[in-house]
Amino acid sequence: MTGLDHTRRAFLGDMTKGMAGVALSRLLVRDLVATPRTPHFPPKAKQVLQIFCPGGASHVDLWDYKPMLEKYHGTPLPGAATEVTFQGKNGNLMRSPWAFRPAGQSGKMISSLLPRMAAHVDDIAFIHSMTSRTNTHGPGCIAMNTGFPREGFPSAGSWVSYALGSLNENLPTYVAVQDLRGEPPNGKANWGNGFLPAQYQAVALAAHQPLRNLARPASVDPAAEQATRDFLHAINAEHAGARPGSDELQARMSAYELAAKMQLAAPDVSDLAREPGHVHALYGTNDANALKAAYARNCLLSRRLLEKGVRYVSLYCASRASAVDGLLNWDAHKTLKADYERHAPIFDQPTAALLADLKQRGLLQDVLVIWCSEFGRMPTHQEGTAGRDHNPDAFTTWMMGAGVKGGVSHGATDEFGRRSAVDVTTVYDFYATVLRLLGLEHEKLTYYHNGANRRLTDVHGHVIDRILA
């Protein structure tokens, strides 16, 4: 193709001929508008806040108290003295650098790294016996989010959006709030729609990164924009008038309207300046640590999104693996102490503030909070280092809020935290439980794709009844 000598008018003419000629009614098929839908049975929770700490957050240094590590520090892990895991050989057992202290009425033992999170243990249901099928970050993250360690499958948020639709037609149904440091391992696949229609993927949004291309350019006059929209609506209506009974066309038209409404609603919800000073202080949004302040703002943004009825918020604390382990996320291969003394303070206060804020506003009546990481860490140190290698055989997740029994722990790891030993749990059990709380039967939430009725829980999954309120 060579360049054509074009006037602006001819350009637009070609465009409309080219596009409209072929496209039309296919454009109008089952689209964008995600209205609320009815769950399978009365739900306990209507919304989900997922907090994800990528990098393999160490269960034995945060949530899973292992006194035997203290006692046998510096001695070989019984029966596995020369174990080779993800990065190589392991050394002896290594105690946690931080003391565990009892917290709350339940007396749950929590790492002193998380002093403010400790205040919430009576509302939390811990799952200490999680297992993953992969020991690698990227596959692990998407396995935790989609149930499959390979790309191409819908994230839990997408499944929930698909199942339940939107609660606020002015805002996206599903929002991924990513960390200032960047995307988690495997990036957007963590909140992708997989084979579900594209409308069910998350919209990426963060306090430091507003929705892109949302604002009206300064050069466009607001009145002119409104007039354009009205004109578009008029010709759409004319088109629809010639095709009576086409509800798909109607749906398509409302989708464009939604985009316009979102233009107004999204800046409003992400305007943190509307929050009073004491709220900012509670979260720590002005902390001297820029990473903590950024995460705190994301926590505050998450609360505002939930308040406005966003169905599913995925909030990330840390990002992908970096050239040196443990710098950008919870992947403390070599220098556990330095790494977690960097990450834990970023996480602790803002997360605790978010939970307290949700609680005091009564939002936990509807919001289910889930915390996850892609796997745990070894109870041993990695040979030649003061860090821990990946451990897919044992890690902790937790839930809190709508429909969840607080102050309980489900499952347990062995005495050193090497393997899940009691009530071994998988990501499928985890999401079977999440779906149950949302009023969904995990075996019935299916989508036909490539010859199979796909499920978030694949062909597995048992609801963890013990943690249901």
Binding site: M1, T2, L4, D5, H6, A10, F11, G13, D14, M15, K17, G18, M19, G21, V22, A23, S25, R26, L27, V84, T85, Q87, G88, M94, P97, T134, N135, T136, H137, G138, R150, E151, G152, R181, G182, E183, P185, N186, G187, K188, A189, F195, R243, R320, S322, A323, V324, L327, L328, T335, K337, A338, H381, E383, G384, T385, A386, N450, G451, A452
Partner: protein, 838 residues
């Protein structure tokens, strides 16, 4: 559920005794047992049918279940699988499942009944099949007889059955747009539209034929249709998974696909090249590059050290090849048989491992792909340079040997009264000196006696004479540190920097760069008398030092930052190792003349290296690096590579053995031969590849295939809307020698294609999606078409059909990648993931 006519096919040869006594025996002794103990899992009423076996009709046990044969052989109790399971004579098939063995008397009744000829009055067909067997429609040979001899015949006949008819012909302006996008992915220019409209008025048929021929001859045809194919074969120019590394030398495959489409290469040849191009075309890059198909999918290269994880990763890597191959060419979801027999199609798990055996030697990676002439030219250009280089290196080595001999002697004689340095803390005291700047010049590390680059420092302290003595190098006391670093982290500019060596914390390290010099500028001039440095981080474990620690050094001070005076050094310390001691002496005894000599010869070597580098290298392409497998292929029980089952030879999948000639190679057959054998089997007399390909061609023309699940022709896939037409098209494809362009031409010139897209209520009422083609089904433009339209109408499209770059595209045979400022690129792999299953 789709009911199929499977029942009744397997019915012959069974002798039945219908005498009343036999029936009475069945009613009294057998039926109640079946109902009580068997129907729970083996009847139409079963919640979950097990083993695909029905025992609630005679036809059920005659047909059998997953074993594929009747479970009762009338008259022969010992040959009846049913009885053997009741007797617990079949490992893993003890029946009733998860219950006590039936009483011996009951089992004896079954034996008696079978000996009587298994009289069974229960009529009725096997309940609606819940899975396919080898009689499944897509596994049959291509039809030879057809009711029509043109595409339109099949379409209009089917429409007539539904009381419908084709739309009138499309307006020529709509037609040229439709056809242009369809065939070349680009809009027609206004001039082309006008010209076609005029020609169409004069001669509709002639103008349309000319248009079809022009478009099919356009080089953009290959871009457009090659793009479809690249989607089918899950092509992506990054490896996915955690690292998602850009693969910037896979583009020759992309160009190869485009070229092959433009040349109308016979597709059977194209398929063979995909699986074994390197085998049949060694030394011919244009053919060899076809086998990049095998390695164009995602694979995990994260370097997992865990042996179990490694085996799983290898299994996943080959699973991608198996899935891509079986989906693209056979339209079968063979990957579902990785852990068990396919739940819906007659694909035993062995078939999966038969394919794995074919691909067992596939390894991802790049290698030189060039002609013998190119190799000869490269050798001719580099051989003299390599000779010169070898001579220079020999000269340098001789010089080094002589110096080293002297250094060894000096090291043996040296007295080193002071202790070794310690990574946990080393101190040097010296005469108090005035200093504004302090420099730590490092010569060696614990890891390298020749240089300190890549060593690490947790902390470096400079103490004033006092009292009180203060660490004046501390950043908190106003000092600044400068020095090169050997590692970076994209979005942490300060990571690994020299400031970490004076931050007063034992957490993070400075990664020493080149030159290995730390320069600390003090807040003010001070009198200093002591330095310490350490590389130990914390007290958690026995092995505290992280990485290499500097071992040999000079400490220098300066008042102005220009003139430096050495106040202390590692001289006199026990060397870290014998090699360190020799290197230390070497630094001492090297004469200025030797230094010059060494520099000169090194410069000449560097000059030759530059010349070598200037020779254009032989082209490397990401076509994979096949290697002969060392072990036979085993079935993985339950899909677990840690549980090898029976060995499987590289051989044809049994799923098609009724309609294709099977092959079996020895277990240790050369790996290339295995792939070639599989490829030949695909294109010999196999009905699926032409059927699947014809369906894809139809799909891209009309938006939906005759089978609307183009990579799944199995039980869970869609049924053909026009089964006869599908085989007709496949036959036409074969008649055209597997060339696509004549098939395109037949389709593009059919009334079915040329009809208008106009909406009609009566059509929509009967056939909303227009699967029967009462109108030409409109479709959305793809992202590539929209992008290319913008480029073309803006006059910005380049004429080139290929590009070596992955990052910019003239016309989109691919989506340009977005490399985020702080992250890996995602677009490519996201695009190629759509066909993944299981």
């Amino acid at each position: 559920m789709i009911a199929t006519a499977l029942a009744g096919l397997v019915n012959g040869g069974v002798a039945r005794s219908a005498d009343a006594a036999g029936i009475a025996f069945f009613e009294q002794k057998i039926r109640p047992v079946l109902a009580e103990h068997c129907y729970g899992c083996h009847s139409a009423a079963a919640k979950k049918l097990k083993g695909n076996l029905y025992l609630d009709t005679r036809a059920g046990w005659e047909k059998g279940g997953d074993s594929g044969a009747a479970v009762i052989v009338p008259g022969q109790p010992d040959k009846s699988l049913l009885l053997r399971t009741l007797r617990h004579a079949e490992d893993g098939l003890e029946m009733p499942a998860q219950a006590d063995k039936l009483p011996d008397a009951v089992i004896a009744d079954f034996a008696t009944w079978i000996r009587l000829g298994a009289p069974d009055p229960r009529e009725g067909q096997v309940a609606g099949a819940r899975r396919a067997d080898k009689s499944w429609w897509s596994l049959q040979p291509l039809r030879r007889e057809f009711a029509h001899d043109r595409i339109d015949g099949f379409i209009t006949a089917r429409l007539a059955e539904a009381g419908l008819a084709l739309n009138p012909p499309a307006d020529p302006r709509a037609l040229i747009r439709r056809m242009s996008y369809d065939v070349i992915g680009l809009p027609p220019s206004p001039a082309e539209v006008e010209a076609f409209a005029a020609a169409h008025r004069a001669s509709p048929r002639g103008a349309t034929e000319a248009l079809v021929d022009r478009l099919l001859a356009s080089p953009h045809y290959g871009e457009r249709w090659g793009r479809h194919w690249l989607d089918v074969v899950r092509f992506g120019e990054s490896n996915g998974f955690e690292r998602n590394v850009i693969i910037d030398d896979l583009w020759p495959f992309r160009d190869y696909v485009i070229r092959s489409f433009n040349d109308d290469k016979p597709f059977d040849r194209f398929i063979v090249e995909h699986l074994a191009g390197d085998v049949i075309g060694a030394g011919d890059p244009a053919v060899e590059v076809g086998s990049a198909f095998l390695v164009a999918g995602p694979y995990d290269d994260v370097g997992n050290q865990d042996a179990v994880a490694q085996a799983n990763i290898r299994a996943a890597t080959l699973d991608d090849v198996i899935t891509a191959t079986s989906g693209a060419f056979l339209g079968l979801t063979v990957a579902c048989a990785r852990c068990h027999h396919h739940k819906f199609d007659p694909i035993p798990t062995e078939d999966y491992y038969r394919l794995r055996a074919a691909f067992e030697g596939v390894n991802h990676g790049r290698r030189v792909v060039s002609t013998p002439e190119e190799r000869a030219a490269f050798a001719a250009a580099t051989a003299p340079l390599n000779e010169r280089r070898a001579a220079l290196v020999a000269e340098r080595d001789a010089l080094e040997r002589e110096i080293t001999a002297r250094a060894k002697a000096a090291a043996a004689a040296a007295a080193n009264p002071r202790p070794k340095i310690s990574p946990e803390g080393t101190e040097e005291r010296f005469e108090p000196a005035r200093a504004r700047h302090v420099r730590f010049v490092m010569h060696a590390s614990t890891a390298n006696p020749k240089a300190a680059t890549n060593a690490r420092l947790v902390e470096f302290e400079v103490w004033s004479a006092g009292p009180p003595a203060r660490n004046v190098a501390l950043a908190a006391n106003g000092a600044r540190a400068e020095g090169a670093k050997s590692a970076t982290a994209e979005d942490f500019p300060e990571a690994y920097g020299p400031q970490l060596a004076i931050d007063g914390r034992f957490g993070e390290q400075w990664f020493v760069g080149n030159p290995a010099v730390l320069t600390v500028t003090l807040a003010r001039e001070e009198t200093v008398e002591r330095i310490t440095y350490r590389n130990a981080k914390d007290e958690m474990i026995e092995d505290k030092a992280q990485g290499a620690t500097p071992t040999d050094y000079d400490v220098q001070v300066s008042l102005d930052g220009r003139e430096w005076r050495t106040v202390a050094s590692s001289a006199g310390r026990q060397p870290w190792s014998v090699a360190h001691g020799i290197e230390r002496q070497r630094r001492e005894i090297l004469t200025p003349a030797e230094r010059r000599q060494l520099a000169a010869v090194n410069a000449r070597i560097a000059a030759v290296d530059r010349e070598l580098k200037a020779v254009p290298p032989l082209r490397e392409v990401f076509v994979g690096k096949p290697a002969q497998p060392q072990e036979p292929t085993y079935v993985h029980q339950g899909g677990d590579p840690m549980k090898p089952g029976q060995p499987v030879a590289p051989s044809s999948p049994a799923v098609l053995d009724r309609v294709t000639a099977p092959y079996a190679l020895p277990a240790d057959a050369p790996e290339g031969e295995r792939r070639h054998a599989l490829a030949r089997w695909l294109v010999a007399d196999n009905p699926l590849p032409p059927r699947v390909l014809a369906n894809r061609v139809w799909q891209y023309h009309f938006g939906t295939g005759i089978v609307d699940t183009p990579s799944d022709f199995g039980f869970q896939g869609g049924l053909p809307s026009h089964p006869e037409l599908l085989d007709f098209l496949a036959r036409r494809l074969l008649a055209h020698g597997w060339r696509l362009k004549p098939l395109h031409r037949e389709i593009l010139l059919s009334d079915t294609y040329l009809q208008s897209a106009a909406f009609r209520n009566e059509g929509a009422r009967t056939d909303k999606e227009a699967r029967l083609l009462w109108r030409f089904p409109p479709r959305r433009l793809s992202a590539e078409e929209i992008r290319d339209t913008l480029l073309v109408v803006a006059g910005r499209a380049s004429g080139s059909t290929s590009s070596r770059k992955t990052t910019s595209a003239p016309i989109s045979p691919w989506i340009p990648m977005v490399r985020k400022p702080t992250g890996a690129p995602f677009t490519t792999r996201m695009r190629a993931q759509a066909s993944w299953t299981c």
